[in-house]
Subunit: 314 residues, 2 copies
């Protein structure tokens, strides 16, 4: 595996025409990066593409994807339930392994600068890459959507971070940024009473007094006759999954309700599962050196370095 690894999850404004989505997504493939997932949503008319790679490979891949999206998607005729402002609507970079958040911020700025210059699409930097607090939140930037942006972009406070104050006529504008890995995590409760799920969601989410990096809603799972606390964990390093699970379980117990089980939607970084194991077992001196496969990977990385070095000497 690559030793420096960043994930990128561009959202594009097309979720119905399979051929278009395929062309846009696989435009990103190439040396040093790889499309690993593709999820189309026809109702939202939107697709989420997951690409992983080394920083340099990813830079070229994302530029190719943005170029293809601008060529094939026209926002003037796009309809869908999900708010959107661009053909490529949002491009987040996420540190996975051997890189820091600073590396992802740096990459987002380089990608943003080149999208503006080479494709004439104005770029807003958001989340960790934002140039002011007012631009951290994607929903705030996107307000007004594609239809409103021709005017919004001319306002002094909405001057783009890269490119001219003029939308691309068909591809609109795009938000590029860096953020932590987001884990979609649901816990199912042994009751049909929706108010229990809603109360627990309120108790654990940040916005109403709960844990800092938890967003939560209560939902009914009608076909199963139970309810679910559906969550986004936006920083598993600072608000670990096990703590969230235990808090939800405790809140459910307080209401006389059992936890049936939990589910991870999409993917979870290995590190987040190691954290669960470390906490559940109360392991004091946990390190990657304890894990057999990490030692093997390290040995092989050392190997590659030795081979590289000897190659240079010859």
């Amino acid at each position: 595996m690559w030793d420096r690894l960043i994930e990128c999850v561009p959202n594009i404004s097309e979720g119905r025409r399979r051929d278009v989505v395929d062309k846009v997504a696989y435009a990103a493939d190439g040396p040093g990066r790889k499309v690993i997932d593709l999820s189309m949503d026809p109702d939202h008319n939107r697709s989420v593409i997951t690409i992983v790679g080394q920083p340099e490979g990813l830079l070229e891949g994302i530029l190719a994807l943005a170029k293809e999206a601008a060529a094939l998607i026209d926002l003037n005729t796009h309809r869908g339930e999900h708010p959107r402002m661009g053909a490529v609507d949002v491009i987040p970079f996420i540190p996975v392994r051997g890189v820091t958040m600073a590396d992802c911020i740096d990459l987002s700025r380089r990608v943003g600068e080149r999208i503006a210059r080479e494709l004439s699409i104005p770029v807003y930097l958001y989340e960790e890459s934002a140039t002011s607090d007012a631009r951290r939140n994607l929903a705030t930037i996107r307000k007004g959507e594609f239809e409103g942006f021709a005017e919004k972009i001319t306002l002094p406070q909405w001057r783009p971070d890269f490119g001219q104050a003029k939308i691309h006529p068909t591809a609109g504008v795009v938000a590029v940024g860096a953020r932590e890995f987001l884990i979609a995590y649901n816990i199912n409760l042994a009751t049909a009473d929706l108010s229990v799920a809603k109360e627990i969601a309120r108790a654990v989410r940040f916005s109403s007094g709960g844990l800092r990096y938890v967003k939560a809603l209560g939902f009914p799972l009608a076909e199963k006759g139970i309810v679910q606390v559906s969550m986004n964990l936006t920083n598993f390093k600072k608000t670990p999954i096990l703590r969230v699970f235990e808090l939800v379980k405790r809140e459910a117990e307080r209401r006389g309700v059992m936890v049936i089980g939990s589910e991870i939607v999409g993917t979870v970084p290995r590190e987040a599962l190691y954290d669960v194991a470390r906490m559940a077992l109360q392991v004091r001196d946990f390190s990657h050196d304890l894990i057999l496969e990490e030692r093997i990977d390290d040995a092989r990385i050392d190997d590659a370095r030795i081979e590289d070095a000897s190659g240079e000497d010859r």
Copy 2:
């Protein structure tokens, strides 16, 4: 990483002469296998070498190691606390990834056959590779040690599985077999009362009525003023770590004692930690597909196969 991975942990009867241990251990290095750990014990005059690799690579590596050990170690002059019967005393193969126990048994037989034929060292198959129940247990085979084996090997019931009924004059005999990964796992208790650790060890270990794949002893940690339940988990797939931890914790609580923490000695397979996370979070439909890095590895393995295939076509 290699997609088919076996671990081998040969124990050799030399733990004092660093140069000899290095020569024997690194004789195993080569294409398709890698020495990842080396632990010398001068009191026992014994060293434990950890090698991982693909089956074919490992076969050649272990033969080279056994040959070097037979050349450099003479059991006639060897003294140490640990019982031993050969220059290479025991060679266990352990399935790690993409292989079954049957693959490891097969490999142990091929290695055993070649050691007997090429190095004239008689071989006993043990544990999962044993040809009869009487030969499963290593301690039973080793009884009498090097000094007693010249006679023991002539008994009909101790005829070796490979090779003649005659010990190698300096290298003795060797046990080769397959077994599950062994996790060395300790739990520290907030008491100085050794009887608590001993009672809990008795409660959780197989031999006195506890869990099937747990060996346990109670020890004092004098310098810290606490006690420890020290365990070997011999099959984490059937007796998972979290269940062991929770049982020890419950038994400690029953005696009014808190668990301070736990520690993993040596290495633990990634799979065992995934199991802890899965159980602690009550995740119902857990699969490797949920783990970001596993998806990346799979994508890269697919890649390699595609490249291989296209290479053949050209």
